[in-house]
Each structure stands twice: as structure tokens, then as C-alpha cells.
Symmetry: C2
Subunit: 334 residues, 2 copies
């Protein structure tokens, strides 16, 4: 498949082309990176009408059941749904490549749905870049609803929140957020808290938990420009499919409000800019260890500095001049 | 004063030369930086036998009284004592240039003592570099005991611990460390905790506080290679001059033990190397905003990225190639 064929296949919604394109953006090979950059540039279309949902939930809250039910409902309405995972632990565990598809079996078989496991990668920054690019590819292939799920370990929620339009936190009834392993700060980034398992014996407790969170959310500052009632807390049962339509309505209404106010587009623009600046910073720092010449020079100067023969700042200036040229060292902006 | 005269004066212990040299290393002007680097290289002598003490204490614990008493005692023993301050708030408050000398009036007048206020600088990294270089200049001028004091705001303790041989935490009786505004993690870096104001009515409470901290310190892992009993907690009164000799003995004994084991030299070498690597990282990141060409290119690409015309990673690659050349982008080390 030539790059032109890949591009045409992708824009035509061909799943094989999408899978190939994803392999390309997930590759670390410089020639692949260059081809991926060209492809992403060629298929970019900021006017595409898509919605990116971030979904966080610790293991045991029924995340897979929720996504399957939610995804099938959207597919039935005519949406094309892509489910991506950001799992910082997948590098260690060998990935959830089989797991992701088997735990959402019906959705995985739906022609209008696409499920992609987390790229295995030790560096969270690398996962972020790849996931962001996979979102762009899925949207180019015609998927208009992207669900990015994360298990809420380490910094993955913040990362997912920075690449999605609406962030949903899925909780189980009772226990409180700390007992459920939800980290501090997540409440602050959630647009919607869904208390799952509001079914059978748990129904009453789910409602009590929901009311508690609604109370807690009221204490938080409302996000500038959002309508009354947000961030909101709802009780749902993915198993019984109760409250699921209301949950989607709440997401859709918030998205519509933000689109109308211009905040939707402004947030995406800020996210892109942030991702760009972050990639520059990480790339610069990576150069110190990735470039053999710089690495050797750092090691040699490090020895002289450690021995007290050269002042740390003078040695740093020497490295910076070697990397950046004469413009490299202009003091500290004091 | 030519640079050769400055160097000779500094090594001869001339206070005017020391003050001039400090002005030079505190300057942000590139030509001053270059001259300072040459001077620091020329006067460097790793074989100098000096001791660098870090001293942290929140306002109200009697830090000035302690340093004055401690400094005068060392001067009486024949030491030459330099007192430097790292105060991250001095940039805001306009500096403690008058304050530092007036609050240690007798020490400030002692011919064998030198007191230098914190450089006013908004960037903590800049304060660290300057203070490290002022230490080197003071040592070149014959000061063998350097006290670097900090008020314990922000990250200043960690910073001071990274440029000193022994780190002392000064506390007031009672209250507990949290009530006294001591941040978590400081206990872990302290070699010695001194409970000051063990005089008059406070004497009993100071002893109780000391015992509490000694108990807490026992729970912490002893630093590899340090003798039994360290980190230690002692009660002192800088006002009555009780316990002050024992406190100095505890510092001197620890320093002697570490010198004999080789850890003293190894720590200084590691500190220098860390300062060097940190200065390189900070210099690289500073380039993004300090270099006009890079800054303009970042802004222009940032706009394209925000508008969705260029993928963040592709734009980052372009900047990195411009800064680092072809070697700049070799994937993410995946």
C-alpha cells in the first residue's frame, strides 16, 4: 500500500488502512515518523464534527460493561464509535491487546465500532503523542465519537483530559472516592461523575453516593461558561441500561453548549498548543541522552565537574554552546 | 581591577576583591558570565579543606541569634566564617540586604566573618547557581566554614541540601513540625535537628520536643555509612549559649566520619554533577523563550497547531530539527 493509497483508504473509512496508519504513527522509526507526520498533515480537517470523551474508572467499577452498552447505543443511533485505551501499566503487563476486545465482545464485532488497545510504551509522554495521533486517524476514517478510557493510574487522567472534550469519571456505589482509589484532583477535572451499578441491591446506595458527589461538586468552582448543573453526578446501570440515555444526554448537552459558546474549539486549540510545546520540551531533554555525541560530551564534562576541575555552570555553558550554537547561552533571564 | 588582580586579591583573602567577584558571578551579562567562568576555573582547588553547613529554620525559631552565636564561637576558634542566604522570597520583598547584616550585628563586624544576603532573583535555579558559585569564591578567599541559611519556603531546603555537606534543621520547642511550618520531607534530609530556645520557661518543653524528634528520627533509615546516633536531635539555647558546643561537636564528628569514609568527597562530586546536568536542562528549556528566532518560530507554529493545520508532534519535530539539526529527532526511545 503506497502512502497515497493509505491516505485514500483512510479517508474512505477502510479499516485495514486505519490499522496500517495506526501502526505507522505508533512506530518509533524516524522514516515512519516522517511518513506519519505527512499523513497526519494531509488528512487533517479541523472542521470535522467529532466528540472526544475521556472516561476514567478504577478496575471493578464496570468500565467495560459501561463502554459496551454506551457504544452499542450510539452505534444504534448512527454514530461511528472508536474506543482507545491509555493504560500506563500495559507496558509492564504486556498490554491488554486481547483483553480490550474480549471484554467488549459485542461492540468489537459492530461494523461501526473500532476498538484499539493502549500502545505499549514505557514513556507516558510517548503514549500521549500516539493516542492523540490515533484519535486524529480515527476521525479521518469517519469515526465521530471517540472514547478514550483510562484506569486512573499515575498521571493518565490528566493526560486523557488534555486530549478529550468532555471528561467522565465512572465510580462504584459507596466507599467514597479515596476508598475507590480515585486520586485527588480528579474531581476537579471531571465534567460528569457517573455512579454505576445502580441496579438490584445496590440501587439505593448508588443514589446515595450520587447525591454525595453532587454535593461535593457544588463546592467546586463551576467551569467558566458551562451551564448550570455542571459538573453533574448521575446514577446509571450499564447492566440494566437504566440512566444510560440521561448520561448521554448530559454529555451531548454540555458539548452543544460549549460548541455554541466557542469554548469547545478554544479548548481543542489550547490542547494542541500544549501538546506541541510539551513535545518540544521533551525532545530537547531527550537529545541529551539520545544523541551519542552529546551523551559522550556530557559524560566527559560530568567527570571534570565531579572532580571539581570545572564549575558546573561553566561546563553547562560549554554543552549548551555545542548544542545551540553561540545563541545558546544568554544568562538566565535575570 | 583587572581580572588578574581580581584573582590575586581573591586568593589573598581581600574582601573588596571577594565582593567584586561575587558581583561578577551574580551578573546575568554574557561577558560577565564568561569572565566569572574563567575566574571560577582559575581559583578552583578541590583539595581545599572546607565545611559547608546548610541551615534551615522558619521565621521565629531564632535563626539569626543562632548563627551569630555559632559564627562568633567558630571565629574565636580560628575559623573564617561566611554566611550566605538563600531566600526565594527576597525577589518579592526587595531583598534582605540590610536585614541580614543588622540582625547579626556582632558577627557582621568580625574581621574573620563575611555575611552575604540572598541574591534577588525570581528564578530559584538562578539563585542556586549563584549561591554555589559564591560558596566557591568564599572558599577561594580563605573562608573554611560556609553557612548557607534558608527560611524553608518552597523548594529552598532541597536546594541548600544539594550544595552543602551537612544539613541542620533549627526548630522551636513544642508545636510539632507541621505546626511550625516545616514541610514534609525535610526530616528526611536533616543530619541534625536542633531545638532552639532551651532556656528559661521553655527549657523543659525544648527537651520534650527534642526527645520526640529523636524518636521520630529513629524511624527513618540511617544514611548509609553514617555513624550510630545520626541523624541526631539536640536541644540548644543560642541565647544562653548552652548546648552550642555539643551541637558543633556533633557536626564536626559527622563531617570527620564522612571525610574518613570518602562519602564527603563523593557527595560533593555528585552535587557538582547534578548541578551541571540541571543547568544543562534548564539552559535548553530557557532557549525556547530566550532565543528570539526560536521564540518567534514557536509562536508561529503554535498558531498552526492550535488551528489544527499541523499535528503537534510534526510541529515539535520541525522546531527540534531547527534547534538541534538532523540529529534532533530520533523518535522517543521506544
Amino acid at each position: 500500500m503506497t502512502d497515497a493509497e493509505l491516505q485514500a483508504g483512510l479517508l474512505g473509512g477502510d479499516r485495514r488502512a486505519l490499522a496500517r496508519a495506526i501502526t505507522l504513527v505508533e512506530s518509533a522509526r524516524p522514516d515512519h515518523r516522517a511518513r506519519a507526520a505527512r499523513l497526519l498533515g494531509a488528512v487533517a480537517d479541523p472542521s470535522r464534527d467529532t466528540l472526544r470523551l475521556g472516561l476514567s474508572g478504577t478496575p471493578g467499577v464496570g468500565k467495560s460493561t459501561f463502554i459496551e452498552r454506551f457504544g452499542l447505543d450510539r452505534v444504534a443511533e448512527g454514530h461511528r464509535v472508536a474506543v482507545l485505551a491509555v493504560d500506563p501499566s500495559s507496558a509492564r503487563s504486556g498490554g491488554s491487546i486481547l483483553g480490550d476486545k474480549t471484554r467488549m465482545e459485542r461492540l468489537a464485532r459492530a461494523p461501526a465500532a473500532f476498538i484499539r488497545p493502549s500502545p505499549s510504551q514505557t514513556e507516558l509522554g510517548g503514549v500521549a503523542r500516539r493516542t492523540r495521533e490515533v484519535i486524529a486517524l480515527c476521525e479521518a476514517a469517519g469515526f465521530d465519537l471517540i472514547v478514550v478510557e483510562t484506569v486512573g493510574v499515575g498521571q493518565s487522567e490528566t493526560l486523557v483530559a488534555q486530549m478529550t472534550d468532555i471528561f467522565v469519571l465512572l465510580l462504584a456505589p459507596g466507599g467514597g472516592d479515596e476508598l475507590q482509589g480515585v486520586k485527588r484532583g480528579i474531581m476537579e477535572i471531571a465534567d460528569l461523575i457517573l455512579v454505576n451499578k445502580a441496579d438490584g441491591d445496590m440501587r439505593r446506595q448508588a443514589e446515595a453516593t450520587r447525591a454525595e458527589y453532587q454535593g461535593a461538586l457544588r463546592l467546586l468552582r463551576r467551569r467558566a461558561g458551562d451551564p448550570d448543573g455542571y459538573p453533574a453526578a448521575l446514577a446509571v446501570s450499564a447492566l440494566d441500561a437504566t440512566g444510560m440515555a440521561a448520561a448521554w444526554d448530559a454529555m451531548a448537552a454540555l458539548a452543544a453548549h460549549r460548541r455554541a459558546s466557542g469554548r469547545f474549539a478554544a479548548t481543542r486549540a489550547a490542547q494542541n498548543r500544549h501538546a506541541f510545546e510539551d513535545a518540544v520540551r521533551q525532545g530537547l531533554l531527550r537529545h541529551l541522552t539520545a544523541d551519542p555525541g552529546t551523551r559522550d560530551r556530557m559524560a566527559a564534562l560530568g567527570r571534570s565537574v565531579a572532580a571539581g576541575q570545572v564549575a558546573p555552570a561553566a561546563a553547562a555553558d560549554e554543552i549548551l554552546r555545542a548544542i545551540l550554537g553561540a545563541a545558546g547561552t544568554g544568562g538566565e533571564g535575570a
